[in-house]
Amino acid sequence: MATLTATDATASEGLLVESPARRAWRRLRRRKGAMLGLAVISIFILLAVLAPWVAPYDPIKQSWSLVRKAPSAAHWFGTDEVGRDLLSRVIFGARASLSAGIISVGIALSVGVPLGIVAGYIGGWVDSLISRITDAMLATPFLILAIALAAFLGPSLGNAMIAIGITATPIFIRLTRGQVMAVKVEDYIEAARSVGNPKWRIALFHILPNILPPLLVQATLALATAIIAEAALSFLGLGQQPPAPSWGSMLNSAQRFLTNAPWMAIWPGVAIFLAVLSFNLLGDGLRDALDPKER
């Protein structure tokens, strides 16, 4: 059964047909978990964007007499090992972690989806080549790939994003390919071809819009994984460089002070947890909302 494309929303029969986007949104609203996730993500994004105005202190200003102080009225989250305010660092850290998630998934999408379409639609030896390489990348331990890439590119947040993006690409290739292969035998594709549309037009305007829903779901879930991957790389010293904050590098510094100053580890960990959980809830909700079998 073909999914209606956005262009069909203007029903020429005069019936008021709900566009798929609206339907999805309505169904998403019903899932409380997804709404909660969306709310938390929005808060994080707001904090990240408005960080300079919201944060109480300069996140890299050191204060050697206030080293590792417990949470207090002056410093709600306490201070870190060189006396910086933890609340400010968590807020500014949201910038690094969220942008890392968004950019790496962006890279994975912009490389993976086209490759998946090519593999799925063209088939033949091109498909075999792409599929085997994808399988090979999926068989290699993800963190090793990421570490090696990040070490090769040089330690920085930007390079960590590239490394994570590259390691996330195979999943999108495989997903896209599978979706394309399922969709390309549909009638409307057959129709478009018989009219004389060149392959690239079919791919861009007929196939792509119809495979977006599962891609969207996967992208949301991949965002969650990317944030944790950034934390892992920064934890290993391969991501955000000091003194700029990121939740992962904050955990790296906090490791030594678990007994003396546990608050240093708790707040960035909680932030990661909330952000990742929210993306997961949203992704699951999206999957349900976009499921064509649901009413």
Partner: protein, 313 residues
Amino acid sequence: MLPFLGRRLLQLIPTLFFVSVIIFGLQQLLPGDPALIMAGEERDPDVIAQIREQYRLDQPIPVQYVYWMKGVLSGDLGESMRIKKPVLDLVLEKLPVTAQLAGMAILIALVIGVGAGIVSAVYKDTWLDYGANIFALWGISTPNFWLGILLIFLFSVQLGWLPASGYVRPGEDLQASLASTIMPAFVLGNAIAAILMRHTRGAMLQVLSSDYVRTARAKGLLERSVVLKHAMRNAMTPVITLGALELGTLLSGAVLTEQIFTIPGFGKLIVDAVFNRDYAVVQGVVLVTATAYIVLNLLADIAYVLANPRLRS
């Protein structure tokens, strides 16, 4: 069935070839000179030159690759530069450790994930659904290195119930072995639980709304027996195949978790080898784990196709 199997087996070869190229290439990309790292603080140019010659580090890259592959195809995975032990020995040493950890993690994941998935599907859209959801998602939402450190702090330092790190073989002392692996297995299993939960829930929902379940309900069978007998049996297939896949991922070694808990498995071996530029170890171990992963994938696919005769055509 047979042509399917044959085709998949044939695909194994190019895939493994690409794995070897990827991992070999990555090692070469890594900045840093292994000879220098071997030398560490002692920096005599003659000694360094000798090391380079001994391990063929001064040869062109394609030549090094060929030497390595020749060895691999004849069963010799090379030797660790750092400790002068054959890679194959190291692999055989670590395999039982990682296998034990992986096995326990999958068990924990099955219990948590499948349980939560069933609850979530049966009580869909209620608070139990969301609760089970969050409970299972908790696993992939928490960075495992953070969770690991917190668990050690709680259970080893504060409560003293479990050892903070280290590994005891089951052969030596079964109870101590379980005590030393339960925390890392839990950290690992947690993450997989979420994925299993999702699929259990999806599969259960599909089955629960299907015709024959509706028929069973219409016949008046007890809800519980409907759920347990019919729904679960059919929902298990994708879950089991997924479990096999995740097992493959686990076998690659949970890198950070092993580091924190000091479990001498594959993960720790690989990551240390990367940082020490011990090429042979990284290449050899990744090749082994990738092979295992691909084979498990294949077995999972076969099982899936066998269980669903409709897919065979």
